[in-house]
C-alpha cells in the first residue's frame, strides 16, 4: 500500500515537472510567433491586464509578414537558403570522402592526421578570424558567396560521424568488391555511400543548422546588403533604436520556421547517429 502510494505520487510529480518544463520551453516561442500575427498596436496591449487575450490574438493580420517580405529579409532568406544547401552538398561530399579514407585506407601518420583534423575544429573561431578576414579580403572574397560557403565546407564532427559509420562496415566487403574489380571510387559511391543514409541525413541537418544559424562570420565577411543572411537580417531589425517589434517577431519566426523543417524531418536520424538515443 505504502509503496504503491509513493510510486503514484512520484509519477504525478514527474509529469508535473515535465509539464512545467514543457511550458517553459514552448511558451516563449508560442508567444513570439503568435505576436507576429498581431497588429503592431496589439502586441503589448494585453500584457497589462493578463488574461486569455494575452495568449490568444483577437485580431489577426499579416501586415508584419508583408512588411518583412518587402524588406531586405526576402533577399536574406534567399541568400541563406542558397548558402545552406550549397554548403550541405559540398560538405557531405568532401567530409564523407575524408571519413571513408580515415576508416578504410591505411597510410602513414593516419592517426596523427586524424587527431590534427579533429582538433582543428575545436579551436575557437576567434583565433582564426583575423587572418581569415585578411586573406578573404586579399583574394577578393569578401562580400561573395564563396566567403560564406568555403570556410564552412570542412567539418570535423561530420568527418568523425562518417568515419565511425564506415568503420562499422566489415572490411571483407571492401576486399570482396576489390577482388571483383571495383575501383575504390565505385566502392565509395555505389556501395558505402548509399548505405550511409542515416549518417548523411544527420550530417546534413548538422551542417544546415550550423550554417543557418551563422552570425559572427557573415557579419564580418558579408556586410553588403546583397549578401545579408537571415540571422544578420534579424539582428538588424532590432539594433535600430526604435525596434519595430512586429517586424522583428515575424522575421525571427520565419527564421525559426525554416530551420524547423529540416529539424523535424531529420532529427530522428541525428538522435540515432550522434548516439543521443533510440528512435
Amino acid at each position: 500500500m505504502h509503496e504503491r502510494r509513493r510510486r503514484r505520487l512520484a509519477g504525478a510529480a514527474r509529469y508535473a515537472a515535465l509539464t512545467l518544463i514543457f511550458v517553459v520551453l514552448i511558451l516563449p516561442l508560442y508567444w513570439f510567433v503568435m505576436s507576429s500575427f498581431r497588429p503592431v498596436e496589439d502586441i503589448f496591449r494585453y500584457a497589462n491586464d493578463f488574461g486569455i487575450r494575452t495568449l490568444v490574438p483577437t485580431r489577426i493580420t499579416l501586415q508584419n509578414h508583408i512588411a518583412v517580405f518587402r524588406s531586405e529579409f526576402t533577399r536574406a532568406l534567399f541568400n541563406s537558403l542558397f548558402v545552406c544547401t550549397t554548403t550541405v552538398a559540398l560538405s557531405v561530399f568532401v567530409n564523407s570522402m575524408a571519413g571513408f579514407a580515415f576508416a578504410v585506407f591505411e597510410f602513414r601518420f593516419k592517426n596523427v592526421l586524424f587527431v590534427l583534423v579533429l582538433l582543428s575544429f575545436m579551436m575557437p573561431f576567434e583565433s582564426i578570424v583575423i587572418p581569415l578576414y585578411s586573406i578573404s579580403r586579399a583574394l577578393g572574397l569578401v562580400n561573395t558567396y564563396g566567403a560564406l560557403i568555403l570556410p564552412e565546407a570542412a567539418n570535423g564532427l561530420v568527418i568523425f560521424l562518417f568515419r565511425q559509420f564506415f568503420l562499422a562496415i566489415p572490411r571483407d566487403i571492401y576486399e570482396a568488391a576489390r577482388v571483383d574489380g571495383a575501383s575504390w571510387w565505385q566502392i565509395y559511391l555505389r556501395m558505402t555511400l548509399p548505405l550511409s543514409g542515416p549518417t548523411v541525413a544527420a550530417a546534413s541537418l548538422l551542417i544546415f543548422i550550423h550554417q543557418w544559424d551563422a552570425f559572427f562570420w557573415p557579419l564580418i565577411a558579408a556586410s553588403s546588403p546583397e549578401l545579408v543572411v537571415v540571422q544578420v537580417a534579424v539582428a538588424r531589425n532590432m539594433s535600430v533604436d526604435q525596434t519595430n517589434w512586429g517586424v522583428l517577431f515575424s522575421s525571427a519566426s520565419i527564421a525559426v520556421a525554416v530551420a524547423l523543417v529540416p529539424f523535424l524531418l531529420l532529427q530522428r536520424y541525428y538522435v540515432r547517429v550522434v548516439g543521443l538515443g533510440r528512435t
Binding site: F32, A47, N111, S120, S127, Y133, A154, L167, Q186, M238
Partner: protein, 302 residues
Amino acid sequence: MSASDGRGGAPGLGRRLEAWLPQIVVSPIFALSFFFVYCFIGWTIYISFTKSRMLPVYELAGLLQYERLWATPRWYVALENLFVFGGLFIVGCLVIGLVLAILLDQRIRAEGVLRTIYLYPMALSFIVTGTAWKWILNPGLGIERVAHGLGFENFKFDWLINPDMAIYTIVIAGIWQSSGYVMALFLAGLRSVDDEIIKAAAIDGAGPLRTYAGIVLPMLGPVFLSAIIILTHLAVKSFDLVIALTGGGPGYATDLPATFMYAYAFQRSELGMAAASAVMMLATIMAIMVPYLYSELRGGNR
C-alpha cells in the same frame, strides 16, 4: 557506369592513381584544416606580438599588446563575465539536463514527442533566442509588465538594464537554449546503464536518491565530460547571444572575450590587441581540451 569503365583506358596511370588515392582524398581536408586553422592560429599569435592596428604589420613589438590588453578595464570585465557566465551556464545546463534525463528515463509516455520538444531549441539560433528573451526580460514590455497587470505592483525585474545583473540574463537565455541538448546526452547515457544494477541496488534497500547518487552518476562520467566539453565550447563562443540580448551593454557590462575581440578587431581597428585577446581565448580552450583529448586517446583508438 559499368565496372570496367574508367579502368580500361590507361591501366598504368589508373593503378598509380589508386595507389595514391588515400593521400589524394585526405589532402584537401587536411590542407583546409591545416592551412585555415593551424596556419591562421600561428598568424594570429604572430600578430599579437606586433603593433598592428588597422592593418596587420609584421614588425615584432614584444609583449606590448598583452601589456595593453591587461591594462584595459574592459578586458577584466569580459574575463570576469566569462567565468560568471561560463560557470553558471555549464552547471545550470548540467543540473537541469540531468534532472530532465532522469525524469524522462522512467518509462514515460510519448517519449519521442517530449524528446523532440526538448531538442527543438537546438534548431533555434542564439540570435532568435536572444530576441525572444530580450522581450521577455524587457522591464517595460515583458514579465515585469505582466506581473504588474496581475496586481503585483511592486514586482521589479530590471536585470536586462542593470549593469550588475545583466550578465545573468545571458545565463538564463543560454541555459534555456542548451539544457535540452544536455538532457539528450544524459538520457542516452542513462539508457546504457544496465537495469539489473539498479534493480540490485533496490533489492539491497537503496532508495532512488542513493541509487542515482552512488551508482548511476559515477557511471555517467564520460557523458559529464563530453557535456562539459560541448558546453565550454558554447560558452566561449556565445558572441551571438550577447549581441542579440544586450549588445554587450549596458555600457560594456555584458562583454565577453568574444565580443571584446570583435569590437577591438573590427570596430576599433586594434588588430594587435584583438589578436592578443584571441590568443588568451585559445589558451583557455586548450587548457580544457588537451587533458580531455589526452584521456580520450589514451583510453582507446576509437
